[in-house]
């Protein structure tokens, strides 16, 4: 942003003409879906007990209730793989939308208070209403995420001069710390620490069919809504005033977008717990590959997010079998270096 650039600088600026972004995006979507199918097949085969792919096939299409391996595939592995894929897409698309709407490259459900907010509500549920059915847990996680996000955006925009990316990130860190402390307090007082710790570690281990049946309509509809909104998100990423000047109803788009984000992130987190970094990393990878148009970023994020989450779940099962390594920890292990790299690249 050098105001004293000479005319020559620009001519010499290192540049590559951009070409074929939609082509790249279509390749990523088709290739990604194929890879996702393979990864999900692998996910049903790999685990504490390795099951051959042919057995997986049989379990799916020639189910034999006598065989325990068929039950493992049908009742444990398939929902788990499906759930991972759904949740990965949900988290990644939620992150992409947040980054576009707030013009903040660091936006992510973990950094904007959604995770911590959902955590508090779940802690309350675990402590006071241990019998809460899953669908209600999901609604509470969604409400908690909304409260967390509301606090972060409220505090972030309270300061004079309005919301800046830095303020939003700072408010997110502060609110997350506070809410996490509150849920830990509840956990200690009511001895639900273990439930909560499991939730915080994040992982697809607990996903069952009833959960999937609740989860998929919400995530599916939200993903479609995200796709329909993608052009508006691109416009918002040019800046709110620019978007308003072009005749977009910014307030409407932001409200609808935030609702979609809350549903995606809230329902995903109620299923797999607090998984940070997917929402941060995947959209950046997608943007790096397909450019700045959210009509491509959002579908690519969905595919790549699913793929990444399914792979992380395979990792969670195979790092130290027969024990589960928390997928959240594995993702953070990959996410932190990426985060640092991103911050460094930005700072240049």
């Amino acid at each position: 942003m050098n105001a004293f650039n000479t005319r020559h600088d620009a001519a010499n600026a290192r540049q590559m003409p951009v070409k074929g972004r939609p082509l790249a995006a279509i390749l990523i979507i088709t290739g990604g879906l194929a890879a996702l199918a393979l990864a999900m097949a692998a996910a049903t085969a790999i685990g504490a007990a390795d099951i051959r792919l042919s057995t997986v096939w049989d379990a799916l299409f020639r189910f034999d209730p006598e065989l325990s391996s068929h039950h493992v595939v049908r009742d444990l592995r398939v929902p788990r793989a499906l759930g991972s894929a759904l949740v990965g897409a949900g988290l990644a698309v939620a992150g992409a939308m947040m980054q576009g709407m707030t013009r903040n490259p660091l936006a992510d459900s973990g950094l904007l208070g959604l995770n911590a907010g959902a955590g508090v509500m779940l802690a309350v549920c675990f402590a006071f209403f241990p019998q809460t059915p899953y669908i209600l847990l999901m609604v509470y996680a969604f409400l908690g995420a909304a409260i967390g996000a509301g606090l972060v955006f409220g505090i972030g925009s309270m300061a004079r001069g309005g919301m800046t990316p830095v303020r939003l990130t700072l408010a997110g860190a502060a609110v997350s710390a506070l809410l996490t402390a509150v849920s830990e307090g509840i956990a200690l007082m009511f001895r639900v620490g273990q439930d909560l710790a499991f939730w915080y570690a994040g992982g697809a281990a607990g996903i069952t069919w009833p959960q999937i049946s609740v989860l998929w309509p919400w995530i599916g509809v939200s993903l479609i809504a995200a796709l329909l909104m993608s052009r508006s998100i691109t416009l918002l990423s040019l800046g709110e005033e620019v978007a308003a000047g072009l005749g977009m109803r910014t307030r409407w788009v932001k409200t609808a977008g935030m609702l979609v984000v809350l549903i995606l992130a809230g329902s995903s987190m109620s299923a797999v717990g607090s998984i940070a970094f997917i929402g941060l990393m995947v959209p950046h990878v997608a943007r790096f590959l397909v450019g700045v148009d959210y009509r491509w970023i959002i579908p690519c994020s969905a595919v790549l997010g699913s793929l990444f989450m399914v792979l992380a779940d395979i990792g969670a099962r195979s790092v130290n079998p027969p024990y589960e390594t928390p997928a959240g920890a594995l993702i953070s292990l990959a996410g932190v270096p990426f985060f640092l790299w991103l911050a460094r690249r930005r700072g240049r």
Binding site: A3, A10, P17, L238, E241, L246
Partner: protein, 294 residues
């Protein structure tokens, strides 16, 4: 008849009114410059006239109809606004950016029609960016970047164009580049241009109509020679200046040589300090009393 006028406009954030009772008329087919010191409300007025801010009271009329109650998309076909210092997402190319100018004319998912593409290419050509069309906006020079944004506004194909400080952060050559482009758009295509400018000499040189604003009120308005007077400069900017006339164009030039506020402020400060030191003396006295009493 002017297409764009404001009626008894009041604008503010929260309770505080920045502008109160503004009646302004924008001459059609001319370049209008809004000038004023920082915080005078000129940007706020510009944004409200371009309907991206809502007024507390009063209305902005475009062709006799209140702009804030019309479909914002329809308005976007009539007028375009370029906010102050817009920032393009990293990696967005000039052609992509200009393409978004077609938004108000498109339906649904935003596929570009042949007409859209032709207009985009025309806007790129108008702004002299043909050889930069596939470059990322964030890697262009300041002047080129500003021209790319102007190209986006041009692709919107509106008769009225608002610009908020289009030359800020640019060096002199780039400033001239942008202003000349605006002049060309006005002269060749008869577009109405309304801009906020900081440099008075740019305003006098390129605008047909000047509006000097202080604390949200119009202090003077009219052609540059009428507005650029010692009295107006003193009132609006708090500067003492000589007014010369450019031998080349005959437009007034302003040469500031002294802060008008300075003399006032130093006098006030002295007064204020005297009062303050007296109060402090009294406070010390009380404290001393308190100590002895305690």
């Amino acid at each position: 008849m002017d297409r764009l006028i404001t009626q008894d406009l009041a604008i503010g954030y929260d309770e505080r009114l920045i502008v109160d009772g503004l009646n302004l008329s924008i001459p059609t087919g001319k370049i209008t410059a809004l000038v004023g010191s920082n915080g005078s409300g000129k940007s706020t007025i510009l944004k409200t006239m371009a309907r991206i801010m809502k007024p507390q009271r009063g209305s902005v009329l475009l062709d006799g109809k209140a702009i804030h109650s019309q479909s914002t998309r329809e308005v976007a076909k009539q007028l375009a606004i370029l906010p102050q210092n817009p920032v393009a997402p990293e990696g967005l190319t000039v052609r992509e950016l200009v393409g978004y100018g077609r938004y108000p004319h498109q339906k649904g998912f935003g596929t570009m029609s042949r007409e859209d593409r032709e207009i985009v290419e025309w806007a790129i050509e108008m702004t002299g960016l043909v050889s930069f069309a596939d470059r990322a906006v964030d890697q262009l020079s300041g002047g080129q970047r500003q021209r790319a944004w102007i190209a986006m506004a041009l692709a919107q194909q509106t008769e009225i164009l608002f610009l908020d400080e289009p030359t800020t952060y640019l060096d002199m050559a780039h400033q001239l580049e942008v202003l000349k482009l605006l002049q060309q758009l006005n002269e060749e295509q008869g577009r109405t241009i309304v801009m906020v400018v900081h440099d008075l000499n740019h305003a006098t040189r390129y605008a047909h109509h000047m509006v000097a604003i202080k604390s949200g009120k119009i202090v003077a308005e009219g052609e540059p020679a009428k507005v650029t007077t010692k009295e107006v400069l003193r009132e609006v900017f708090g500067i003492e200046a000589d007014i010369l006339f450019d031998p080349r164009t005959g437009v007034p030039l302003c040469l500031p040589f002294e802060l008008f506020r300075e003399s006032l402020r130093t006098a006030k400060n002295r007064e204020h300090q005297q009062v303050k030191s007296k109060q402090e003396d009294r406070a010390y006295g009380k404290q001393a009393n308190a100590v002895t009493n305690g």
